[in-house]
Symmetry: D2
Subunit: 146 residues, 4 copies
């Protein structure tokens, strides 16, 4: 089966991201996901997609991570990212973190973003411009609803 | 129905926990959960429970959070924490974050910790000392398995 | 000689503030100073002093810290803070961090803030309201210039 | 006059490094310095220099930063780093942060590290291996003291 991930970002673990247990503090993986998400968006030429159209933003409604093996200081991590699903007013991104040198699975994760009107903070439909670009990039692996 | 949460910790949002959107960066909630978890453990007189017995530790295998409303700089948050379930080799903690002044739900979350042998990093049974103390504190709201 | 510090805040070291060396990452002390600074301002009833008057803000122009002894996870630190000097367009705050249980000096630090006009980002005189309140609180230990 | 800096690292500002003022939280610059320091050490083939010889480490005794202009989310920063001075038991690193796109000075900084014996935590002479490698890299810009 072909890999559904078509994009990745490399991150080198920084000292302050580790904790007294000698490994990366689990909460830092959400920072890694954020870096990969922004890099994904930049790669599609939509860096303003945080606010792609005036009056538009997409706060994170859900975030989760499963930790498979620890990462340490100075480890190079490959963070794979993809938009897995676009719904009517939200979209889901999946993440996979690989230890580059050991080629080991470090973590998998997911975030759900809801597209909202900046003033009312109410959910609005996912903009077509975003939908079109992601569809072109992700191809048949993208699930679209409504 | 009585509230299943019997413990909480107060946190005041620090400036570096906010981001350029003017709200708390979503990943910081996992830090808040960690603070509440450690405070919970301290409250049970088990602060060494991170390593309650030599050769014992409990890394986080899963963490998730649902974000309900944003928190801002200087907001006081009440972070409720409880051990919801103890399995054979793992236990689950639930979290609920309330905006103290507005009495609004900010986030709910969950973490799963696996008890492992420090040397082999293999799962081992949840120690009885931990099980007993949590049972006494949580009472009938605690779900126990195997 | 009387202690020039008249204000302090307590902080308990969080796990993500420690690093793989088992001690607090040195950069986190600037977060501790920030927490103490905000608490100082709140104590003077000037929490809006970040923007005390519309069109006013005080970015940090300099920050430094001398590290005397390490702090560890779960340590309680007493962070002393004071405005040591008010100049024409800037003011200096001093900090001292004490390990509460060991009563040991952990660090000393200093920040310089420049008062600027929010739009032009140019330095403007320190507002009288701030000067007056700080003078009343710090008393003879405060150094004032022009 | 030739530039005394011979080494630099690029960093892209991450969202959680910004704060509610819309700019990078000042304390994050010490993380940037740390990333550059580690990269500098790696470039000299001394990545183990944190503990180059068993029983050796070099904690930070002093850190300071002067902030010249703000950095924002997604800005690319060039962090220049150099060992400016080696003393008997300590060494000083200088840093300079440039906004890559605007070619503007963002910050300058300095850290002092003391070489200590890991067990006694007492200062010991800077190891010759470190001294020799840095001297070869920095050339005449390096100041050495006894």
């Amino acid at each position: 089966m072909p890999d559904p991930f078509h994009f990745s970002t490399e991150i080198r673990v920084r000292l302050p991201e580790t904790d007294a247990f000698g490994i990366v503090f689990h909460g830092c993986f959400f920072t890694y996901f954020d870096v990969a998400r922004m890099d994904y968006v930049r790669n599609l030429g939509m860096m303003d997609f945080i606010r792609p159209i005036s009056g538009f933003t997409a706060p994170i409604a859900h975030a989760s991570c499963d930790f498979k093996s620890p990462a340490k200081f100075d480890d190079v991590l490959v963070v794979h990212a993809r938009v897995a699903e676009i719904g009517r007013t939200s979209f889901t991104m999946d993440f996979r973190v690989i230890h580059k040198n050991a080629n080991a699975l470090v973590a998998t994760g997911k975030t759900v973003q809801v597209v909202v009107d900046e003033k009312s903070w109410k959910a609005i439909p996912v903009p077509d411009a975003f939908r079109t670009k992601v569809r072109a990039f992700e191809g048949r692996d993208l699930v679209e609803r409504a």
